[in-house]
Structure formats: structure tokens, C-alpha cells
């Protein structure tokens, strides 16, 4: 969908929301994500146990006192699941941000300037696609360290190619259009054209893609933590599953509930992303809408 320069911003937003509302999955996903975000923000004020306190008995099954039971060190699982929203959302959005930034910058440069820039950047993109992301993240996380910042950086730097490709394709088609040409005629500098005119218009397909990237970043971090490479100072769902996997036969709740939390969070994001993609792609719309 191309933004027409002359449509009112408010009208565009309202149009968009009307279309979006029709996608039931998208609506459920949105509300669900909002609840999760809310939890992440207010969790310190919730009337739950200290997630790090090891004072309770270990391996207590779910009960009225501990709705999700306690883990192998005696910590309350419900509390840890709720606190885990912060880690997962930070990693997810953080990595997606890094990825999108890298992708947007590289993709737009490749598309706009073309020539050697394009050639080089496209090859670099392919190189990154060639290295299986999970393997690379595993290698780097295991030997360079498992601090959460590393994890965000590494996930971001291995997932930018998809964003870059989209931006590049968008840039290529947009740069021939009149309003860009007009800017060139006026004599605007390349960076001005890029940042003020091109990118804001090219960005739309990226939004849906970025939401999906948040989802996959959360899954990647969980996978990493499951291999034991997560940051031990944070409460992470993937790590909880890792710690609890040994006890799956007897104290199944330790690994089960964090996994459920991942499914709900990631599914919400995926539904939103899917709704966005559908809304922004006219060919997938129901005819007569």
C-alpha cells in the first residue's frame, strides 16, 4: 500500500484501524500483547512472591498457595513466569530493533545508490543468510559469553537480512517515483532524501516483518537458554524450561508453564504481524471489503 502524499494522517490511521479490526486473530493478538505488556510493567507491584526467594520447599506441585508450583530451588514458578515477561519482551523488541535498524540502513543504501553499494551489500546479505543463524548464535553465545546484551546484539545482527531485502525492494521501486525525483531536482542531499522521504514510505511492509521478528527473537532466545547459554542473572522462560527439563517426569510444572507463556506471547505477536501483513497486502483482502 502506498501512502499518498495528500491523504490526511488521521484519516489514514482510521482507515487502517477499520481494516485491521476485521482480522479477528489480529484483534485477539493485540489485546493479548497489551495484557502481557501491562504485566511486564506492573509486575513489581503485583501481590506475588519474590521470584528469587528460595525459601519455599522445592518441587511443590501446583496448589492454592503456589498456583504454578515451585521449582527445583523452591522458587515460586508463577512469580517467575510473570517476571519473565520483562526479559522476553526486552530481548524480543531489542533484537528486532537492532535487526530493523541494520536492515533499514543497509537495505535503503543498497536500493538507493545501487551499483557497487548494492552489489556489496547484497553479497553481504547473502553471506549472512548462508550461515545458519542458530549455529552462529550458539557459537558466539557459548564462547563469548551469555550476557543478555550479547544475546540481543547477536540475534539482531543475524536476522537483519530479511528486513534489508524488503527495504531494498521498496527503495528500488520508490526511487523512480515523482516525489523523490522532485526532491532530487530541488537538490536535496542524499541523506535528506533517504531519511525524510524514502524510508518513511518504504517502512510499511517492514512493520509487519519487525513484529514477526520480535516473535522469532523470543523463540531464539528461548532456544539459546534451553541449551544452557542464557543469562543466569535474569529470569528467562527459556532458562526455566532448561532447568525444568530434567524433572519433566515428576515435576512437570517447572518446564510446562514457562513454555506456555512463550506460546501465548509469541502467538500474540504472530497474530498481530500476520494481521498487519494481510491488511497491508491488498491482494489478500476479502473481495468486496
Amino acid at each position: 500500500m502506498k501512502v499518498h502524499e495528500n491523504k490526511n494522517l488521521l484519516e489514514s490511521v482510521r482507515d487502517f484501524w477499520n481494516k485491521y479490526k476485521k482480522n479477528k486473530g489480529g484483534v485477539i493478538g493485540l489485546y493479548s500483547l497489551l495484557i502481557i505488556l501491562l504485566v511486564a510493567v506492573v509486575v513489581p507491584f503485583l501481590p506475588i512472591y519474590d521470584p528469587n526467594s528460595i525459601q519455599f520447599g522445592s518441587f511443590m506441585p501446583p496448589s492454592l498457595a503456589h498456583l504454578f508450583g515451585t521449582d527445583e530451588l523452591g522458587r515460586d514458578v508463577l512469580s517467575r513466569v510473570l517476571w519473565g515477561t520483562r526479559t522476553s519482551l526486552s530481548v524480543g523488541f531489542g533484537a528486532a530493533l537492532v535487526s530493523s535498524l541494520a536492515g533499514i540502513i543497509l537495505g535503503s543504501i543498497a536500493g538507493y545508490f545501487g551499483g557497487l553499494f548494492d552489489e556489496v551489500i547484497s553479497r553481504i546479505t547473502e553471506i549472512f543468510l548462508m550461515i545458519p543463524a542458530f549455529f552462529l548464535i550458539l557459537l558466539i553465545a557459548s564462547i563469548y559469553g551469555s550476557s543478555i546484551y550479547y544475546v540481543i546484539l547477536v540475534i539482531g545482527l543475524t536476522t537483519w537480512p530479511s528486513t534489508a531485502r524488503i527495504i531494498r525492494a521498496q527503495t528500488l521501486s520508490l526511487k523512480e517515483r515523482e516525489f523523490i525525483y522532485a526532491q532530487k531536482v530541488i537538490g536535496s542531499s542524499a541523506s535528506r532524501v533517504l531519511f525524510i522521504h524514502l524510508i518513511p514510505n518504504a517502512i510499511q511492509p517492514v512493520i509487519a516483518n519487525s513484529i514477526l521478528q520480535v516473535a522469532s527473537a523470543i523463540l531464539l532466545e528461548a532456544g539459546l537458554s534451553f541449551l544452557g547459554l542464557g543469562d543466569p542473572n535474569l529470569i528467562s522462560w527459556g532458562k526455566m524450561i532448561y532447568n525444568g527439563s530434567i524433572y519433566i517426569f515428576s515435576s512437570w510444572w517447572i518446564a510446562f508453564f514457562p513454555g506456555l507463556a512463550i506460546v501465548i506471547t509469541v502467538a500474540s505477536l504472530n497474530m498481530i504481524g500476520d494481521a498487519l501483513a494481510t491488511v497491508l497486502n491488498p491482494r489478500l483482502e476479502e473481495r468486496g471489503a
Partner: protein
């Protein structure tokens, strides 16, 4: 004297009921069966001496022999050598080998194999190179085909213990001598080994299992088992479920602690627990302020409740550490060198008096002005290391120290802590046997593993002297003194003394951990299966188990015969014949 005949008959009948069928039958080994041992990983290759190979070690113990070996109590017992002498100056070790030992391909095992093995360990830097001090061996002489002599440059009291331990398997010279490199991949023996041990190699399916079979010509007698299989399962959880599903007979992977009670109460399974000479310990970086301050280290020692760590992180399967060496090596352990007892208020008092002021955020500040925020570096090999960290973090919070956890993968941990010495406090574990000389390679000045940079010269001298003394009592005294110094300085703080679990199916007997004094702690040479075939011919077993009944019947027949001869029966039967 004529005993009433009735009484005799009654006696015969009653005694025949006490058949010894219940007694003693179970204790005779049976032939046959397959023992499946579940373990955590593949061996790396079948060269038993070239590299550290924890997964291969138990397999090597059954394929190969050493000169001498260690039993479950870490006593030195004969293996290929039935006898050995040590000269009074401690420089000459003479080993007398069994004359009927052969390699699995039939070639006899001789002193030449021993000589070749140890010379190659020296030349190719086999793993035992460091701890048997291969560079200290002046020469290895073949006195005759079955007698070999090691001449040392300097006395080394622990030489025999280390010879019995690891990486000292005698290897077949006639196979390896054709290759210049004993790890040459073209050598088939690296994948299909030829050893001299109780079991022969059959096959290795990588990632799945290693199968061995009985060596009929084993010089100590064919093992009872027909086959020995090592099944490879990567993690404790799946290993446990595999064992419970009947896919294994010995579980050589420690299952999660929480499952031990369940195993204990599973019918047909036996679980025993024994202390091992291994412990978890903390090291302080003595080259870094404020860890060079002994008062701080002492306060931290008072603040850590080792009993609580055993309860919470090990679910009570272990012991709070005692002393400066492992209690499991009994003769060397000094029970009087005690570690600080848990006392939080004393810890706080010490820190207050030493000028570590408590800040408004609950974290103390050193006299130099830096906040006491420290990093605890551990390796992520299992859940205990992190659990211990979480507990220590909570406990140190109570004395105003803020702890951040840094979990590193083992290679990175080694790089950061041991090589670069870039850490605050680090958790390490270690096997401290088989000989207290281990302390010298782990904690003393100059040792590669001495990551705390412990530089007490007195400690080093005590250990060095103990290493070269030939008198046992003197050695013991020196080691006891060294432990006193160790617990005074607290460069390292031992936390937990570990136990090992032995889990097996009760239908197997003669396991190495039940056979102190007889076999190596990993060897299944005398293990047997209840449901195997009897070794003796069947009629002998029949006779043995019914011996008393048979004896009674025979005696009864004889008495009956005499009675008939004497016409007593008629008298008894027909009372009226008068």
C-alpha cells in the same frame, strides 16, 4: 543301645525337610548374560592413554590392564603385575608380571609392552605424563620378559598411586610400533582396539553404543558375563527413563537428585551412595583487591552456610566440606584442620571492624571506597553450579555483599579464570585423589590450576617434601600440616564434599563397587547375572543343593538296611510276633 525305631524315622523325616536349598545357592556365580551400562557420551577414540577421555575411561578399564590399579576404596591392587618392590631409597620400582597374560589377538603381554607404553607416554605426552612425572623417570629396564624396572631420578612417593590411576594402561607394542604417531588415524586399533583386559571389542556405533564380549583367554579367568554393552545417552533425564524402561542394567549417569528417592523405591533396583574424594570449592582471586584481604575471605567463609547448600542445591546428597583435603582419602585427611563454622553475626562483625562500611543500599563499601559488588564465575556443566551461586548470592547479601552470577561454558571459564585469572570468586570442582599429592598440582604455587594465585611458600614446601619422602608417617605428618596452613589462609574455600551413586539392577552381582580389594572400580571382570547358566554341571548343583536331604536319605537307607538285617523291622511291624 536300641533307640526306638520310630524315633529314628521321625528324626530322618524332619531333618530331610530342612533342605539347604535356600542356603548358599545365590552366592555361586552363574555364567552368561549381557550387562548394559548407561553412560553419557562416546569415547573419543580407543587409545586409552593419549587424551583425557572421561567417557572412554570406564570402557578402557574393561578392555585394557594397567600394571597396578585402584579399587573402589582407592587401594592399590595388582593388575598385570602380581607383585612389586620399591627400593628403600624410593628410586627403583620393580614389577613382576603375570606370565600368562595375552593380547586379544593372542600375542603374549610382556615387559616390552610396558616399556614401550611408558616411553611413548613420555615421548608423545600422554595424559599421564604430568602426574606420573614422566620426566622424572630416568630409565625403564626390561629385566626379563616378565619383569620390568622403573628407575626414577628423584623419589616420588605418589608414583605408584598415579600409575594405578589414569592414562597408564599398558598398550600393545606390536600393533602401535608400526605407526610413528600413536593417534595416527590409519591405525585401526584407534577404532577397533586390541587390549589385554577381561573383555574384547566387538563394535562401536557412534552416539549409540559400544559392545564388548568376554575374553575367553583372560589371564585371570574368563569373566562370567558374555557381553558388556555401554549405551550412550546424552542427558540425565533420558538416561533415567531409559534405565527405568529396562533398557539398561547399570546407570552410570547420575540422575537428577530429585529422582533418587524414586529409584530407591523401585523394585529390582539398588541404589547406594558412597563418598568420593571430590569436592566443590571456591577460589578467591588473591591478586585482586579486596580479595587479598584475609579478613574479607574469612567473613565470607563465616557467611556461607555449607549445610544449607548441601540441602538446597544437592538435595542432601553430599556433605558440607570439612577440612583442607577430602575426607574420602582417609589416611591423608586431617580432621583437626577445621573450616569456619556458619556464623552470620560474626561475619558482619568482622567486616564492620575491618572498615567495610555498610552503605544505605545495603551493600558494603571497602576501605578503599569501592562497592563490594562481586562476580561469581562458574561453569555451566550442570544445574548445581548455578544453584550454588544462587544460594551464595542470597547468603552474601546478608553481610552486605552484592553478587552477580557469571555462568560460562567450560572452555571459556577455563580461559577466563585459569589462564587469564580474570575473576573475583570462582567455583571449581575437582577430584582430589588418588593421592594427596593432587594438592600440589591444584592449589600450590606454580600449579597451572592454582587460579587463586595462592602463593604461600610454606604450603608449597610441605607438599614438595611430602612428594619426595619415602617414609609413610612423615608424609602423613607433612600433609596434615599442609592442611592446617590451607584452612588458615582460605585462598580456597571448600564448600561441598561429593558422593557418588551406584545404581543397578539387583539381578547382577559382583559389581566393582561391591568388590573392594578385588577389581578396579570400573571393571566388570567378576560381575555375574543371577539368571545365567550355572557354571558347574547340573548334577553337581543338584547334589550340592540337596546335600542334606540326600545325606539323610542315604543314612536312613543304611539304618533301614541294618534294621532289616537284624530283623528289627519284622519285630516292629508285627508286634505280635512273639
Amino acid at each position: 543301645m536300641q533307640i526306638s525305631f520310630k524315633v529314628i524315622i521321625v528324626l530322618i523325616l524332619t531333618t530331610s525337610l530342612i533342605s539347604p536349598q535356600v542356603i548358599g545357592q545365590e552366592l555361586t556365580p552363574k555364567l552368561g548374560g549381557t550387562l548394559v551400562v548407561i553412560q553419557v557420551g562416546d569415547p573419543k577414540s580407543f587409545n586409552p592413554d593419549a587424551q583425557v577421555d572421561d567417557m572412554g575411561f570406564p570402557i578402557f578399564q574393561n578392555l585394557f590392564d594397567k600394571l597396578v590399579t585402584l579399587d573402589i576404596d582407592y587401594n592399590i591392587i595388582p593388575d598385570l603385575a602380581y607383585k612389586w618392590d620399591v627400593s628403600s631409597d624410593g628410586l627403583i620400582y620393580t614389577f613382576y608380571l603375570y606370565k600368562n597374560a595375552t593380547w586379544h589377538d593372542g600375542v603374549p603381554v610382556t615387559a616390552w609392552d610396558v616399556k614401550w607404553t611408558f616411553e611413548t607416554i613420555n615421548k608423545s605426552k600422554g595424559i599421564a605424563y604430568s602426574w606420573i612425572k614422566a620426566s622424572n623417570i630416568k630409565s625403564i629396564d626390561v629385566v626379563d620378559n616378565y619383569t620390568v624396572r622403573f628407575v626414577l631420578k628423584q623419589p616420588f612417593a605418589a608414583f605408584l598411586s598415579f600409575l594405578a590411576w589414569y592414562g597408564t594402561f599398558v598398550m600393545p607394542k606390536h600393533i602401535y610400533q608400526n605407526f610413528s604417531d600413536w593417534m595416527d588415524p590409519k591405525n585401526a586399533a584407534l577404532q577397533k582396539p586390541i587390549g589385554s583386559g577381561p573383555f574384547k571389542f566387538v563394535e562401536w556405533v557412534k552416539g549409540d553404543h559400544v559392545t564388548l564380549e568376554a575374553n575367553d583367554n583372560y589371564f585371570k579367568g574368563r569373566p562370567y558375563l558374555d557381553k558388556l554393552v555401554f549405551k550412550i545417552i546424552p542427558d540425565a533425564n533420558t538416561a533415567l527413563s531409559s534405565f527405568l524402561a529396562g533398557e539398561g542394567d547399570v546407570l552410570a549417569v547420575r540422575p537428577p537428585f530429585s529422582e533418587i528417592p524414586k529409584l530407591n523405591s523401585t523394585s529390582g533396583v539398588i541404589v547406594i551412595m558412597r563418598p568420593v574424594p571430590s569436592r566443590w570449592y571456591l577460589g578467591f582471586n588473591l591478586l585482586r583487591y579486596p580479595f587479598n584481604d584475609k579478613t574479607l575471605r574469612l567473613a565470607i567463609a563465616y557467611a556461607i552456610n555449607r549445610t544449607y547448600i548441601v540441602e538446597k542445591a544437592l538435595y542432601n546428597y553430599g556433605f558440607p566440606a570439612e577440612g583442607g583435603y577430602v575426607p574420602a582419602i582417609k589416611w591423608a585427611f586431617n580432621p583437626n584442620a577445621k573450616l569456619p563454622e556458619y556464623n552470620v553475626s560474626l561475619a558482619n562483625k568482622l567486616l564492620d571492624e575491618a572498615g567495610y562500611k555498610l552503605g544505605s543500599d545495603g551493600i558494603r563499601v571497602t576501605p578503599n571506597g569501592t562497592k563490594l559488588s562481586i562476580k561469581y564465575t562458574y561453569f555451566t556443566t550442570g544445574p548445581e553450579t548455578e544453584a550454588i551461586g544462587v544460594i551464595i548470592k542470597e547468603q552474601l547479601k546478608k553481610i552486605g555483599i552484592d553478587v552477580t552470577l557469571e555462568g560460562l561454558e567450560i572452555g571459556t571459564w577455563e580461559q577466563k579464570v585459569v589462564r587469564e585469572r580474570n575473576f573475583d570468586i570462582a567455583l571449581c570442582d575437582g577430584f582430589e585423589g588418588p593421592d594427596p599429592d593432587n594438592m600440589r598440582s591444584r592449589f600450590a604455587l606454580g600449579a597451572y590450576l592454582n587460579f587463586a594465585n595462592y602463593s604461600n611458600v610454606e604450603y608449597l614446601k610441605l607438599l614438595e617434601n611430602a612428594s619426595t619422602t619415602t617414609n609413610f608417617e612423615t608424609r602423613k605428618e607433612l600433609y596434615w600440616k599442609a592442611q592446617e596452613v590451607f584452612v588458615q589462609d582460605l585462598a580456597y574455600l571448600p564448600l561441598v564434599d561429593l558422593v557418588a551413586f551406584y545404581i543397578w539392577k539387583k539381578e547382577f552381582h559382583g559389581l566393582p563397587w561391591e568388590s573392594s580389594g578385588k577389581v578396579n572400580y570400573n571393571s566388570y571382570a567378576i560381575t555375574w547375572w543371577e539368571k545365567g547358566k550355572s557354571i558347574e554341571p547340573e548334577y553337581i548343583t543338584f547334589l550340592k543343593s540337596n546335600a542334606l536331604t540326600i545325606a539323610v536319605v542315604v543314612v536312613g537307607v543304611i539304618i533301614l538296611g541294618i534294621a532289616i538285617k537284624r530283623g528289627l523291622l519284622k519285630k516292629w511291624a508285627g508286634k505280635s510276633t512273639s
